[in-house]
Amino acid sequence: MRLATYLLPRVLAALVTLLGVSVLVFLSLRLLPGGYADILLGPFVTPEARAVIAQRYGLDQPLVVQYLRWVWAMLGGDFGVSMVTQRPVIDELLRRAPVTLQLALIALVLALAVGYPLGVLSGVRAASRRKRRDFGRVIGAMGASVPDFVLGSVLIFVFSVWSLWFRVGGYVPLGVDPVGNLRTMLLPGLTLSVFGVALILRTTRDAVLRVMTEPHITAAVARGASPGAIIRRHILRNAAIPVVTVVATYFGFLLGGAVIVEVLFSVPGVGLYIFNGLLNRDYAIVQAGVLLAAMVFITINMLADVLYALIDPRVGVSR
């Protein structure tokens, strides 16, 4: 029953965190200057019209009542209705979630495909040749330093002037036109992946370096085992553990935090939906979106914790 005793406090803590996030997002939205009435009516808003709209969406109730109603409705699966379209927010979020998921997966796969092998290579080189000034550090430093909106802007410039094969904007669902979909999704995915490459490269490199200096590797080298065999048998497996944790955290971040890239490339995902909801003061969208993102983030981090504890029991309980 070790897993249960390990999990229970974490689940409770996660629930408290979610509750805090819900209060925070609810209150901060109400503190925003300007409301949906302004967006809908523009300069023509009058106090009477404001009152009508407030009443229509229950915004004239005391804050506590509004909050409890929202939470109560959510427990029943009702996440509210968009004021712009009158459609249930959860339907729209579920329609957009796959888009954000796809974007996150593209970024993750690219980051792993480039970052992990380079990290292993860089780590092995660094440990064996005592060379510190290697490409791993250079790539790691660069990747972690170029903000996504800088890289995104430059990519948009390059690919909208010479349209080549990629497209900027004009999202097509994967199921409708897989090639067209990739043409629009690869650039934003690439933009998001650069940070991940640096992240995974440096984590892998560190882990490999650490494993390489452990006695059993030194012993294996002394035994005259081939470098390939050492890497396969000892290094890759041991170095994978920290990488798993980092990958999970990165994935959680991608699912909840790709707002700028989605806005920049007009990718109709969850981030863009929340962003527009915020501009329109469409409260239900932002509330549900932020809560969902927080939920995903917490869950993935918790899974990573569990995974980490399972793989390496030493770390488990103390942390």
């Binding site: 409301g35 302004d38 009516l41 808003v45 019209a49 009508v52 712009v84 329609r95 900027v168």
Partner: protein
Amino acid sequence: MPAVNSPSLSVLALLAGLGLALPAQAENVITWGKPAEITGFDVHVAGTVASWEMYQMVYETLLTNDDDLSLQPGLAESWEEESPTRFVFTLREGAAFSNGRAVDAQDVIGSIERIRNPEVASYWAHQLGEIESMEALDDRRVAIELAQPHATFLPALAHITAAIIPVQEYQAGEFDPTSEMLGSGPFMVEAHDQDERWTLVRNPHYGRAGYPRADRMNVAIIPDESARMAALRDGRIDFTTFENPDAPQMLGATANVEHHPIQTTNYYRLDVNALSEDSPFHDRRVRQAMNLALDREAINMLVFNGTSAVDYPVPAAFGKDACRDLDTYALSREERLERARALLEEAEQPAPQVELMASSANQVLVRIAEVAQQSLAEAGFDVQIAAVPTAEYLQRVFTDGDFDFSASWLAGYTDPSMVIQWWNPKFAVWNLAFQEEVPELSDALAAIRATPDSPERDEALSEICAMIDQGANLLALVSKIDYVVYRSDQVEVTLADRTGSANTWQYIAEFAPVE
């Protein structure tokens, strides 16, 4: 969502389902790159151009405007002004909603009643004036009786916010105007993915035979200008608009991209807060000094690369020469600056600290603010710019009156005596929070409403303009031009040279793909 219920389309669908070959040119498709998503579905409520542009595809109004901005038939094929307070409209034979039901007199009455219903919160009730009674003379004729003469009644009916909705379906609960669209316009909505795309298909019951020429219009929502340009370049969209005057230059080298600047009666403006005692602009002399110190020509040259023009309270697009010889426009810059400094001296505020607000969503407005800031500094003003989110800007200016001055643009509508009515805040209502009511000006404005276009009216316009300039409460800056850009190898377009009321796509029914 209105379903595709045209018999001919169903037959086509059936044929397609049976695997029978369709004629190659079965579908005429055009694609519009729309810069912004609607802010609500309710045609009688939303007060934003982004919404109006979509409503104009689906709904119709009783009247519309021609290229000279005079009224012309819309859903009503004719109208009679039986007295200054009584109008009779005759609906066009064959006008029908996209569900096939003919538009009748009850739809007109019900639509106007809905606009007037406070529960609906439509801002247009006020523009229509006080309506005494409405009466259906027969299925196709409606008589509307006003409580008192209201010069802008007819122009207000030509605005999309006065759209005629299917009232029978609305009352039966079959049609919800707050979440769907169903009108008698050229297109109807087939599908909508918010912030992403719309699919419009032709309204098979549209009143004009053979129109719209396109069977289907795809609408891509692309807020980012660079992305919209990329879409034009690779031919994903056929036509769009830009607010940035440099857009044509940026697209310059692309083959088959045509530019069509549309002159509008709209202009960029400054709202100045005359009512707040916290603002230095509470003192009229400070407002006048600011008005004189503004360098409108610099705004034109720097923000619009010289493609716009200095504009006046009576918009230049109407071709009137009112306001031209006012000091604000006629004096040289040096003379104006001198006058401005003298006025500030007189007001004992040689260096007023003021905040210039603009919506950060519109880069053009922010640039205008930056140029204004520099030109005002020369007269001694210390201007801080506040580029804030749209919702905040709207609330602070139009509800709270908590600002010094702000940059935006003004819809000049379609008649010079209509647009200057904005200077009577009791009539305009939207500027009550910051516009000072000047009784003589209000009287003059009331008088001109009943005056037909004539040399006398032009003279009255000049007098009014001088009063407006004196108040320096709502300032015209430069004309707002709609830069329409389209792919001439992909789409045939019909565009007006001038529009009022943001009706850029007035002739959308005539758009068709190039064969």
